[in-house]
């Protein structure tokens, strides 16, 4: 602490330069916060995917159906404690730009398998009573202003024609990263009205008694339907969610690439700033060493300066990003989730400090190696 004033005073030497460098960190870490938020929005499903759930899809493609008769055979596999199913509906609400996911799900088993979805008891009961009922996520309801009791019309694209639903309830997630931008409606309503594909489902989701049995059970199920017209591919829900998200492009790669470029640029900017700062202060550093500051002490002073700049900029940028995400999804619900977890804020802060250390390292080493006699001669 006794050296803090010395380090802090050096930051005030060139106020504009320090402010701009802190500003670079602020912008970079704000961007980091947004990238993490977007990554979670796209891959959040993969991150929150239950480790005790498996998805069974048609081996040929996710868009190919599976017979509904598979349900009982899957449920009979030892270690499977629950089975539910869903089908992608692909309806349009008013205009195609108002995209949101809609799934026809089994009303009796869906919420047993997806225990992280929370619906009020009376709303759940209303959903069970009405064949045309649907449940909308809190985010989706907010985006379009849906309320319980609303009549919600969709234009079918896979199964053409007008489809009408009654909003029976609004579901929330037990965690902030649960996707609440979906519409869930009863599979029996789809089955009753659709013109083709009757007796099939999009995919099955099953719950395991023991997550450690995932590999064995996957193989058992796939073996069960081998050489049939509808062979299956059973995978963890995380793998399923990732492949689902990849249909929109490799978001993870994109985010990582942008993030890496931003941090590398930041490293160069800060490294350059610190190198200039050390060069300008050669004489003063020599004086410090003359009066007895040890080499490691001088190294620490420069590193502390660099880390202090990084820390200040980092914390401002991350808090701004957090505030921004608290303001709500700017796409008005297009993204599944829009939140920046505190754990990611912590990781970002650690990254900023890391960049500060790396950027300050070479200038700090050159300051440490400074020969007092040579430096004083240049003063």
């Amino acid at each position: 602490m006794r050296f803090f004033r010395l380090v802090f005073a050096q930051l005030l030497r060139k106020k504009v330069r320090t402010t701009l460098t802190i500003g670079s960190f602020t912008v970079a870490l704000f961007l980091y916060g947004l990238l993490v938020t977007i990554r979670i929005a796209f891959l959040g499903g993969a991150d929150v995917a239950g480790v005790d759930r498996l998805n069974v899809i048609n081996k040929t493609s996710l868009i190919m159906p599976l017979p509904i008769s598979y349900r009982d055979r899957i449920a009979s596999v030892t270690g499977v404690t629950g089975v539910t199913y869903a089908t992608w509906f692909g309806g349009v609400y008013q205009d195609e730009k108002n995209f949101f996911p809609q799934f026809a799900v089994d009303k009796d088993t869906w919420f047993d398998v997806y225990s992280e979805y929370r619906v009020a008891k009376d709303q759940r009961e209303a959903y069970m009573r009405d064949r045309q009922a649907c449940l909308v996520g809190r985010g989706l309801a907010k985006r379009f202003g849906f309320k319980v009791g609303d009549r919600l019309p969709l234009r079918g694209t896979i199964w053409p024609g007008p489809w009408e639903f009654n909003v029976a309830g609004i579901y929330d997630g037990s965690r902030p990263d649960v996707d609440t931008t979906q519409l869930l409606f009863r599979f029996d309503y789809l089955e009753e009205r659709r013109q083709f594909g009757k007796g099939t489902v999009g995919w099955y989701v099953l719950k395991l008694a023991n997550p450690d049995d995932a590999v064995t059970i996957s193989k058992k199920i796939d073996d069960l339907f081998a050489n049939s017209p509808y062979e299956t591919l059973t995978q963890t829900e995380k793998a399923f969610a990732t492949s689902f998200a990849k249909q929109m492009g490799n978001v993870q790669f994109l985010v990582m690439t942008i993030g890496s470029v931003v941090f590398f640029t930041l490293l160069l900017v800060t490294g350059n700033t610190m190198a200039i700062a050390v060069r300008e202060r050669t004489g003063e550093l020599a004086v410090l060493k003359t009066i007895g500051f040890p080499d490691l002490g001088v190294l620490s002073l420069i590193l502390a300066e660099s880390v202090l700049i990084a820390g200040q900029g980092g914390i401002i940028g991350l808090l701004l990003a957090k505030l921004f995400t608290l303001g709500g999804d700017p796409t008005r619900g297009l993204l599944g989730t829009f939140y920046l977890p505190w754990s990611s804020v912590g990781v970002g802060f650690a990254l900023a400090l890391g960049v500060g250390v790396v950027a300050g390292f070479l200038p700090a080493v050159s300051a440490m190696r400074l020969r007092v006699v040579d430096a004083l001669r240049r003063v």
């Binding site: 006794r2 005073a9 060493k289 080499d295």
Partner: protein, 239 residues
């Protein structure tokens, strides 16, 4: 009594024997100091004079532990410093040497107080103790009322006085002054020399000073001339 013949008694505070310093500049070897001997007793005030390039500053750097001799030995207050490891030498400097430079070399972003406090940051003194020491040092140089001023708010003479306060605040064994009046006008130079005089006579400090200024040298107990790397006896030296 200052001696340069290598026959000083064992009580010398500063003792140099057969001091040699050579530099390599390209293919040319420069022999800056040649077999130099020196004995300075505690409480003495010695001035080194000589033309530019005669090795005055090199000698000061060697005595202050900022540089190491090519050969020969230096001991200060019983510590043999010529072969000391770099880290030990740094700690030794902090404890034993107060440096005063021609260009003051204050840290511009620190106040007078902050500059004077710097050597004390390396000690175990508490904040309150450091404050007491800094106030005392600034009091000695007559700048107690300027402790919150930054170097840019002080005159050249005042800056040098702050530098002197920084040099004495940790109560070093001796002071090394490299042209302390070289950047000052006559009046300020006289004030600085009065101050150094007081440090010697009232506070018992040992001072080794390099100077080009004969008036400054007049204040010293002994004046030694360096010529082509060899110390020549001058006023106040003895066999």
């Amino acid at each position: 009594m200052v001696k340069v013949d290598g026959r000083g008694n064992g009580d010398s505070l500063v003792r140099a024997r057969n001091l040699d310093k050579r530099y390599q500049r390209g293919s040319e070897e420069i022999h800056v100091l040649q077999g130099l001997n020196l004995d300075v007793e505690r409480g003495e005030f010695v001035a080194f004079m000589g033309p530019s390039g005669s090795g005055k500053t090199t000698l000061l750097n060697l005595l202050g532990g900022l540089d190491v001799p090519t050969s020969g030995t230096i001991s200060v207050a019983g510590d043999e410093i010529s072969n000391m490891a770099s880290s030990k030498l740094t700690a030794w400097r902090a404890r034993h040497v107060g440096f005063i430079f021609q260009m003051y070399n204050l840290i511009p972003v620190l106040t007078a107080f902050g500059n004077v406090e710097l050597p004390l940051l390396l000690t175990r003194l508490s904040k309150a103790e450091r404050r007491r020491h800094v106030e005392a040092a600034l009091g000695i140089v007559g700048l107690a009322d300027r402790m919150d001023h930054f170097p840019r708010q002080l005159s050249g003479g005042q800056e040098q006085r702050v530098a002197i306060a920084r040099a004495i605040v940790a109560d070093p064994t001796f002071l090394l002054c490299d042209e302390p009046t070289g950047d000052l006008d006559r009046k300020s130079a006289e004030e600085i020399m009065d101050l150094i005089d007081r440090l010697v006579h009232e506070h018992g400090k040992t001072v080794l000073m390099v100077t080009h200024d004969p008036r400054a040298a007049e204040r010293a107990h002994a004046v030694l001339h360096l010529d082509k790397g060899v110390l020549v006896e001058g006023r106040g030296t003895g066999a």
